[in-house]
Amino acid sequence: MEVAERTRYVRREALRQVLMFGSLFILVVFFSFASPYFFTFQNIISIILATCVNGMLALGVTFVIISGGIDLSIGTVMTLSAVMSGVFITYWGLPVWLGVLGGVGTGVLCGTINGTVVSRMKLPPFIATLGMMMIAKGLSLVISGAVPIYFLNTPSFFQISMGSLLGKIIPGLDVPNAILIFIAATIIAGIVLFRTVLGRYDFAIGSNEEAARLSGLKVDQWKTVIYALCGMFVGMGGVMMASRLNSAQPALGQGYELDAIAAVVIGGTSLSGGEGSVVGTVVGALIMSTLVNGLRILSVPQEWQIVVSGIIVIAAVYMDIVRRRRG
């Protein structure tokens, strides 16, 4: 009985992983057969690069969603972080590393404010972060004067995303740094989520906040930390985006939050909290950008690509529900 139970559990988890990676794999195989231009080194790099910014936001918001919250401000906070690093580097002439730190710091600050409003002022996360979404958007426009801030005098800033450390070491392997940063962020997120107190508390709060409080957790503090951590990933996403565009575009960003949340959900994280994984989120984000890229290569009209993405979100969540019901 015991052995049977254990194998059943293992099988269930395996099934979940297989379903997720399987969907991605099927997509890749399908597009590879459909077009000779899909499965090329360059194009695969393009897909992963297109995943980076959305993936960063998705990693951040995964933590918040596991804790049973939501963060709608990630899109515009990302923009604000980009704008702030522009202000620090281009307007104030600070060193690039300081500007990057400032950009990431902006994200952390916004996250901390979100967390404080949610945990201390007890606003529902949806409302609190909706407010932050608008505040960050407005501030981006105000601070930048509604014009893009360019990083033309600091070529090293562009190298953050688009340089290729790997290409220097192994000639020919031109993998942009953005991808390496994203992989590193994924590993860090994974370690934080599964191997640290913060991660364990994240799950605990998401699964039963009151029980967590009665177990001696300072829930308010931890929630603030969780939102701040989300802000950190978002800030990193903002800097990466600014670096890739070599400019901070104050008008971009709105709508990115929904893409990120969709990626999290496709990755099997439950919006009701207490469940989720980093790998799932990354695969979810990859599925989305693979789909966009692949349908593009097949010249499928773009309107349909949006429809297909919607169907994928629903199908992914439905599969997860079915799996859970059986488990």
């Binding site: 009985m1 015991e2 049977a4 139970e5 254990r6 559990y9 370690i191 191997r195 640290t196 107190v197 364990r200 508390y201 799950f203 605990a204 699964s207 039963n208 009151e210 029980a211 967590a212 409080r213 009665l214 177990s215 001696g216 957790l217 300072k218 207490g274 469940e275």
Partner: protein, 511 residues
């Protein structure tokens, strides 16, 4: 009341049911006459709910037959069951709190206005509801919103809703679990009236003590099998219990304390305007201090306040003679106090997480290694140790807690606090929702704990439990401590006297 010459309302014979890998029911039998209240008892997992689910069409049966009023019937789904006159009232209500009583009862089949079937005829609905409630002798206004009713009244609305389908078979699943003693009496009055009107009532309950007050007959199940049926007049609770567990129950007794030990926790003049009134008491090392009283006497409130879960407005708390200030559960835990709520699922456990995650939660910071990472192997060893020590029956540490039985869930909560080295444990209704066999396990663990030098406050509404386990008993009434009794002098009568002190004498038929 039920002569064998009369035709049974329900007769289930040779019922079999497999679930993948297990036999849920084997050769089950059940019989219900009109005008009787028939109790269905058994430990958790004995097959009661499966049997009832087959009768109400939730599960199909694999073999056997069901006769309704003498005719063999097939019950493919719950709607058919309802049309055949079989209704069930679940332990958890299915009412919409923001709708009125009438709207709840007629939901989905509201009377419509003549000629304008798009509109609901509220008047007709309220009137019909009133008639129904009058017939059932329930004093409830159909226009009241359900959320404004007490739990007991809500249950009556559920009963009224069930009977509004003209049912003559009513199934009650653990109806008294959420009721106070007074409310239980009110429920029983109504059930008896319904019985006298000729309804057959199937009564499922874990509270064996109440069966003598309400049931006419009892059917006992064990391990998916039919064990026997008896008239209540001919059987004692102990006999029922031994039928349920299949063995004579092991009577756990408290460990005798040898001498007066040091005071580990003392509270003085605890106060909160509404519900805690000048509460003082002391807890000694290695003792079980029972907290008795009626539901609503303020025992849980005091426990939660000491634990820092709710704020206090006055009073002092001393741990081993030192004054401490407890503002949050985190503070209390730091002083070695743990609180095990009566509602484990809401306040004690992360149901969706696994056994190890639940056990380790408060103490995880004691298991950090390099760079602040959790040392999983160490955690696992520790959890395994406690699973063994407390005899938690779980297939593995990665099993989700929601799949464990009530008794094992309780053990997980206990393990959680022991791992944090808490030595003042406040148990609130430690055996609520736990079946008979597992209750004994919990008692054994409590005894082992005090033997190891832990100190326990045990809040319980079951007097036999209090009397059997406690060294001393504090009795509360309306937020006040009304008496403190040494175990050797304690009797049910004495406790009840204190529990009702300075209060209009309330009907208390149970226990």
């Amino acid at each position: 009341m039920n002569e064998s010459s009369r035709e049974p309302l329900v007769l289930m014979e040779g019922i079999e049911k497999h679930f993948p890998g297990v036999y849920a029911l084997r050769g089950c039998r059940f019989e219900l006459f009109p005008g009787e209240i028939h109790a269905l008892v058994g430990e958790n997992g004995a097959g009661k709910s499966t049997l009832v689910k087959i009768l109400t069409g939730v599960h199909p049966k694999d073999a056997g037959k069901i006769l309704l009023r003498g005719e063999e019937m097939d019950i493919p789904n719950p709607r058919v069951a309802q049309e055949m006159g079989i209704s069930i009232v679940f332990q958890e209500f299915n009412l919409m709190p923001h709708l009125t009583v009438a709207q709840n009862i007629f939901i989905g089949r509201e009377p419509r206005r003549k000629g304008m079937s798009f509109f609901i005829d509220e008047e007709a609905m309220n009137q019909k509801t009133q008639e129904l409630l009058d017939m059932l002798h329930m004093n409830i206004n159909p226009r009241t919103k359900v959320k404004d009713l007490t739990v007991a009244k809500q249950q009556m609305v559920e009963i009224a809703k069930a009977l509004s389908f003209n049912s003559d078979v009513l199934i009650m699943d653990e109806p008294t679990a959420a009721l106070s003693e007074g409310e239980v009496e009110e429920l029983f009055r109504i059930l008896r009236k319904l019985r006298d009107q000729g309804l057959g009532i199937i009564y499922i309950s874990h509270r064996l003590e109440e069966l003598h007050h309400i049931a006419d007959r009892v059917t006992v199940m064990r391990d998916g099998q039919y064990i026997g049926t008896a008239c209540m007049e001919d059987i004692t609770i102990d006999q029922i219990i031994s039928m349920m567990v299949g063995r004579e129950i092991y009577e756990t007794l408290r460990e005798r304390r040898t001498s007066e030990s040091e005071v580990v926790l003392e509270v003085k003049h605890l106060w909160r305007d509404k519900d805690i009134k000048d509460v003082s008491f002391a807890l000694r090392k290695g003792e079980i201090l029972g907290f008795a009283g009626l539901v609503g006497a303020g025992r849980t409130e005091v426990a939660r306040a000491i634990f820092g879960a709710d704020p206090l407005e006055g009073g002092e708390i001393y741990i081993r003679g030192q004054r401490v200030h407890i503002k949050s559960p985190a503070d209390a835990i730091r002083h070695g106090i743990a609180y095990l709520s009566e509602d484990r699922k809401r306040y004690g456990l992360m149901l969706g997480l696994d056994v190890a995650s639940n056990m380790i939660l408060p103490s995880i910071r004691d298991f950090l290694g390099v760079a602040g990472l959790v040392r999983d192997r160490k955690v696992q060893e520790m959890c395994e140790k406690y699973v063994e020590k407390l005899r938690v029956k779980t297939p593995s540490l990665v099993q989700r807690v929601k799949n464990l039985s009530g008794g094992n869930q309780q053990k997980v909560v206990i393990a959680k606090w022991l791992m944090k080295n808490c030595d003042i444990l406040i148990f609130d209704e430690p055996t609520r929702g736990i079946d008979v066999g597992a209750k004994n396990e919990v008692y054994k663990i409590l005894n082992e704990l005090v033997h190891e030098g832990k100190s326990i406050i045990m809040i319980s509404s079951e007097l036999p439990e209090i009397l059997r386990m406690s060294h001393r008993i504090v009795v509360m009434c309306e937020g006040r401590v009304t008496g403190e009794i040494n175990a050797d002098d304690a009797t049910e009568e004495l406790i009840m006297k204190y529990a009702t002190t300075r209060e209009e004498s309330r009907s208390f038929a149970l226990v």
